[in-house]
């Protein structure tokens, strides 16, 4: 029996797609790199995922998990072919009010979870800008962050337990509601593993109370530096605002063109800041941020009037990537992170690189935690431009690493960053990771060729010394 027949038998024909057009639509995520799926399946529960894993192992076909396909590093692109396992049908939400947690199907959309928790006064804190579309499974797999992770931490801080289908089709539950479950923290291994170790079918996530009060403000600056300096000073003043997001002028213009919300398109940079908590505290903090901004030359400080106004400001920020489409058909986004203290100099260097290559560069990023998203808007159908974009990209990554940064702030490694892993890790580090992958996924079917560059596994340790990571590096 072919694996296609086996899949049809296990999931029913309606849950197996094989038409070339259909396969084409699942051949990539939100990044540029395209793979080629052999078949796409929609398992309805963990048992069906387990069947799929067994079939894949028996026939030695790769399995690539996919949630909403909003990933930016080709993690869900079936670059080695195989079975694309879409989790969207696994979408149950069971809220446990007593423990302020919820068992959530991998296919649940991030924002749907918060909407379901809202009537109980709770929410799921990680809020990637793609939260209206991306799934919990994708969040877990990429350990995604978002504007509000500055104060609350990224996905890993909010995952208490996982239901995972491992090699051999074994369904396991890791972690749980207990504060420190016994044994090794195996769920920690799965969070951020980008589908290379197993398929997450459910996650037990922490739900936090909704904030009693919130102030959201937009500050306009005459230079990017003055905005970035303000960010550093806010943090040095001992505050951890819920969010500190920076957009440069080009980005604001593209967003405004679509949103028509009266954003300050003349400013060189715009800072979106949000503080949450009890009313008095929130007011005091908002005041300090406004003062620091003005001291750094902010030309306007606008505080959101009401919830609708606040929603509009956030909509502008969260739709920024998509708005690039108005400038060029493709974009290449970097997701680099540098220590906050090096933000200003890194930014200047990044702009300089773009100018030198004559590329349209826009910036929008989580400034609070030094997570840059320099973005090049270009037309990928022109090979010369393509080359320039990739060369400039390598320089950008190099400068971030040189300034004490790391390869990925939150979007993961996937394929886009894979070959840059060598710049951060020694062979010994890579070998350790490759052995881990081998131990958990002996047949190598889970998302092969992602994250770890080819040849990561080295059998000879003689003479390999550990490369020191620069101080303050995030990995």
């Amino acid at each position: 029996m072919s694996y296609l027949e086996a899949l049809r038998g296990a999931l029913g024909e309606a849950n197996v797609l094989e038409e070339p057009v259909e396969l084409h639509l699942f051949s990539k995520d939100a990044s540029l790199l395209r793979g080629q799926a052999n078949v796409v399946v929609f398992p309805q529960d963990a048992d069906q995922v387990s069947e799929v894993v067994k079939i894949a192992e028996a026939h030695k076909v790769p399995i690539v998990a996919r949630g909403a396909g909003t990933g930016l590093t080709a993690g869900a692109s079936p670059t080695e072919g195989g079975i694309v396992v879409v989790t969207t049908a696994i979408d149950s939400i069971e809220i446990d009010l007593e423990n302020r947690s919820a068992w959530v199907g991998a296919g649940v959309i991030n924002l749907d979870l918060s909407a379901a928790a809202a009537p109980h006064g709770l929410h799921f804190a990680p809020d990637p800008s793609s939260q209206s579309a991306c799934t919990i499974g994708g969040n877990v797999a990429n350990n995604s962050g978002g504007p509000h992770c500055l104060a609350e931490g990224s996905t890993t801080s909010h995952v208490l337990g996982l239901e995972v289908v491992l090699a051999g089709g074994e369904i396991v539950r890791l972690g749980g509601n207990a504060p420190d479950p016994i044994g090794l923290d195996l769920k920690g291994l799965i969070v951020g593993s980008e589908g290379t170790l197993g398929i997450v079918t459910k996650a037990l996530v922490r739900l936090l109370p909704l904030d009693p009060d919130v102030r959201t403000m937009l500050l306009a600056f005459p230079t990017v530096e003055s905005a970035a300096t303000t960010v550093s000073q806010v943090i040095s003043a001992g505050m951890v605002p819920a969010a500190l997001e920076l957009m440069d002028q080009r980005m604001v213009q593209a967003v405004e063109n679509w949103l028509q919300a009266g954003l300050p398109v003349d400013a060189a940079a715009v800072l979106l800041a949000e503080v949450v908590g009890e009313t008095e505290g929130v007011e005091a903090e908002a005041e300090i941020i406004a003062d620091l901004g003005r001291a750094n030359g902010a030309t306007s400080v606008e505080v959101a009037r009401d919830e609708t106004h606040r929603a509009t400001l956030w909509k502008g920020r969260k739709s920024a990537f998509g708005a690039i489409a108005q400038l060029a058909p493709d974009y290449y986004l970097h997701d680099a992170v540098v220590p906050r203290t090096r933000l200003v100099e890194t930014m200047s260097a990044v702009y300089e690189i773009a100018d030198r290559y004559d590329l349209t560069m826009l910036n929008v990023f989580h400034a609070g935690d030094g997570n840059l998203h320099p973005l090049v808007a270009f037309d990928a159908s022109d090979p010369e431009t393509n080359r320039k974009v990739h060369e400039a990209g390598d320089e950008i990554v190099a400068i971030c690493l040189k300034n004490g940064g790391a390869l990925s702030g939150e979007h993961g490694i996937g394929i886009e960053k894979r070959d840059m892993m060598r710049t951060t890790f020694t062979e010994l580090d890579l070998d350790a990771q490759a052995r881990l992958k081998e131990a958990v996924d002996p047949s190598g079917v889970f998302n092969p060729s992602k994250v770890l560059p080819a040849g990561s596994r080295c059998f000879d340790f003689g003479g390999v010394r550990r490369k020191e990571l620069p101080e303050g590096v995030w990995v």
Binding site: L17, E19, P20, V21, E22, H24, L25, F26, K28, D29, A30, F42, A68, G69, T70, V86, T88, A89, D91, G107, I109, L111, D112, S130, S132, A133, C134, V255, N257, W258, L259, S319, A320, F321, G322, A323, I324, A325, Q326, P329, D330, Y331
Partner: protein, 401 residues
Amino acid sequence: MGWVTTEHPTREELDACVQCGLCLPVCPTFRLTGRETASPRGRLHAMSAVGEGVVEVDEVFAGLLDFCLGCRACEPVCPGLVPYGRALEGARAEIAEQVPGRKRLRRWQTTTILGSRAALRLGSLGLRIGQKLGLLRLTPARYRRITSGLRKLGGRGQPTLGHAGGSGEAGTVGLLAGCVQDEWFRPVNRTAVTLLEMAGHRVEVPRSQTCCGALAAHDGKAGAAHVFAGQNEEAFERYDMVVATAAGCSAHLAGYEGLGSSAADITVAVARAIDDGRLPVSEVDRGEMVIQDPCHLRHAQRVVDEPRRILEAAGFRPVEIDPVALCCGAAGVYTMAQPEASETLGNQKADQVRSSGVTRVASANPGCEMQLRSHLGDDYEVAHPIEWYLAALEEDGRGDD
């Protein structure tokens, strides 16, 4: 083979999509299935693949687009400003041209009938008699949602076509009577005439007009749609404002090149008159009323506040039922073409109305109205916001006639 007509989605239209996926969660068909193949991004991706020569315009491709409601909920959320509705019409024109058997399919419904008043009148007469004799129970299942959602066709008064009246202090209005609208929803047109004249407009319903062409365009009959558009542009070129009373029609008019910004939905024209003080505001509190947003009003034209302001001016307190305004599943001929999905969406919408506990509903589009009535049953009253408004004025003794 790629594209073969001049209507095809252009590279520019398709390249505007960066595949960010932000449109997925607002798409009703993605919500029903969780599948990329039933999402706006997926459909655009498939169109791009045709443009690149990777995919053929065949039955499978057509199937992906047949399932699309054309509700355009994917447009307002798209930061890339992708003109999805236009691309969809282009792709459907290609399907009509290239997929065997598609050329003649449904043409009967969308062009011949809608373009011909005589055929429409005859059909309506049949339906009216059917309603009277209780025969509509016998309609084949596929069409039953339509017949059970119809208004009572008796006592509708005269058609508005050919009407001319009003002072014109506030400017002239050309009213698009609509094909189905003037037959099955005549009271909405008559109300529109009354209100616009009360508001100081000169209202004319020129006889030289024809069907707006929306259904033809949505169905891939680009040629017919262009002919309709040309005839209407001529019929309406001399008015300050061109108004349609069905959201589906006004959305399509707004896309005519020849009319520019003079096209408006009736809710916009009436709300404007209320804001300017040309139409009165009732002081009576009439309680709660559910507001349903037709896709072609809210998503295609971004008209959200106006119907609410009209209800408020009538003394009603609008009750929201759906923050993202997911399609009710009526969507033109969708009830007949994709009965299963339409049924599920219709039930969802009806459940949203029921859980509000309010039995009066305002909807500004005939298709939605029928879908709601059919799914809600006789205990609910569904009418156009301007009808609720005029009725309130008449109750207050401030109506015109």
